[in-house]
């Protein structure tokens, strides 16, 4: 489940939008950051992408892991510092296709909650400083990936596409933890709003995050 061979959408859309591979000189291969034109204005694009050679084996499929968290925070803080004295702050577009946070022993020993909180604080403070934050959800945004990469945005935009998935947890794991079968859960999805599994059903509430 954590293996996500389809997590290619983040890189594909990032490259299409920026014309760049987004590689940072001193960053992990999974973190893509570049400036590109959005209309006529400069904008920052940031995305995660799979990296089979990543140092951390539990974070090779575009998960939010330790390096993604700490280097992602650094990248966002640098952008904020560059624009600190500018009247108009560049928009930051978070292009999201990320399966979840990284599950592993190393991650918890170091404190992945601090790595993830770093990104959240950076997005939130960038928004408060006047950077428009847009989450463009082109694939998966599940659990910690949604909370870190999307949820502090002024606006969330999700493609109306069956591969787009926004959720608190994958369906089979959620069924297990809430002690129900997947079939029961599916039935519940049809009648109860908190369980949407696809973006088109989520969209109504997607813009309710405060700005």
């Amino acid at each position: 489940m954590a293996n996500n061979p389809t997590a290619i959408r983040g890189r594909a859309w990032f490259e299409a939008l920026t014309g760049s591979n987004g590689k940072l000189p001193n960053g992990p291969g999974s973190l893509l950051v570049a400036e590109a034109k959005l209309g006529n204005e400069p904008a920052i694009f940031i995305a995660l992408a799979p990296d089979p050679n990543a140092r951390f084996p539990r974070a090779r499929n575009a998960e939010v892991g330790l390096e993604e968290g700490f280097y992602g925070t650094r990248a966002l803080r640098e952008i904020m510092a560059q624009d600190a004295n500018k009247a108009v702050k560049r928009p930051i577009i978070s292009v999201v296709d990320s399966v979840c946070q990284a599950y592993g022993r190393r991650e918890e020993l170091v404190g992945i909650h601090i790595a993830a909180a770093g990104i959240i604080a950076a997005f939130a403070e960038a928004r408060m400083a006047g950077h428009p934050i847009i989450a463009l959800i082109v694939g998966r945004a599940v659990s910690g990936s949604f909370l870190t990469l999307c949820a502090q945005a002024n606006h969330m935009i999700a493609f109306d596409d069956p591969e787009v998935l926004i959720h608190a947890m994958y369906k089979d794991a959620a069924a297990r933890i809430t002690k129900r079968s997947v079939a029961e859960l599916d039935k519940l999805v049809k009648k109860s709003c908190p369980w949407p599994m696809i973006s088109s059903r989520f969209r109504n509430s997607a813009d309710s995050t405060n700005c």
Binding site: R74, Y103, R106, I114, A117, A124, M169, P194
Partner: protein
Amino acid sequence: MSLNMNESNSRESRRSYIELKARERATQLLDPGTFHELVGPFDRMESVWLPMQGIVPQSDDGCVVAKGTIDGQPAVVIAMEGKFQGGSIGEICGMKMAMAFALARKDNEKGIPTRAVLSLESGGVRLQEANIGELVIAEIYAELVALRQYTPVVVVIAGNTGCFGGMSLAAGLSSYVIMTRQARLSMNGPEVIEQEAGLEEIVASDKVFVWGMCGGAQRYATGAVDVLVEDDADAITEAVKETFRKGLPPVLRTDQYELFIRRLAAMDTSKQWTAEDIRTVWKEIA
């Protein structure tokens, strides 16, 4: 002999914080006689999503918000009840938390220095409320980050439920964390890691290992929490007061990314690590 007797006396006079319910915890942390509950059980703010899934809701949704004073200063205490739905964050309890932070921020903007304490017992988002839970957690983060500019936001993690998932990130965002040895702080619970990543990552039934990895003592030794306290209601109250006396932290935990980047660079990721490995490297690269 006399030492032992003193110890036993102090144990008798000691009251457990862990055994207190959420409302008692909030009362405990506020100055005596100042507890005033906001959106209490008689306001009947209950989850509408739980009954349709065959679960009896609770009239405070597992979250108590109380206004009062701490050390004579205006304060709001938000206490989660770990015994209701695992301290999970649903729509009502999450919004109570977020709005309490928002009111405290508005106070601060008006020059009233209202401080905030978050007493956490939480397994994370309430899966029965799924995406709504995620959205209110996003609101909690937004308001927490806005509030911590003005006043310390102090997180207390005391009990056996611990602090996981979405609320572990709230602890990461807070100004200070106070923790007991009994509590755990971790983004992914050990069972989830075992299930998703296998036994080579974590054996969830190995309690010694699990507490060694994410228990209060290890978190304190590696700087992920600021104060390690005994399970003593008065000692925890005193630790909260002492923490507020320090004022805003010189460096927030979420601003320590350069330090973590240096530490990660020094680690050999080709092997699994022990809690001791982290303590050693963290001391070397401080």
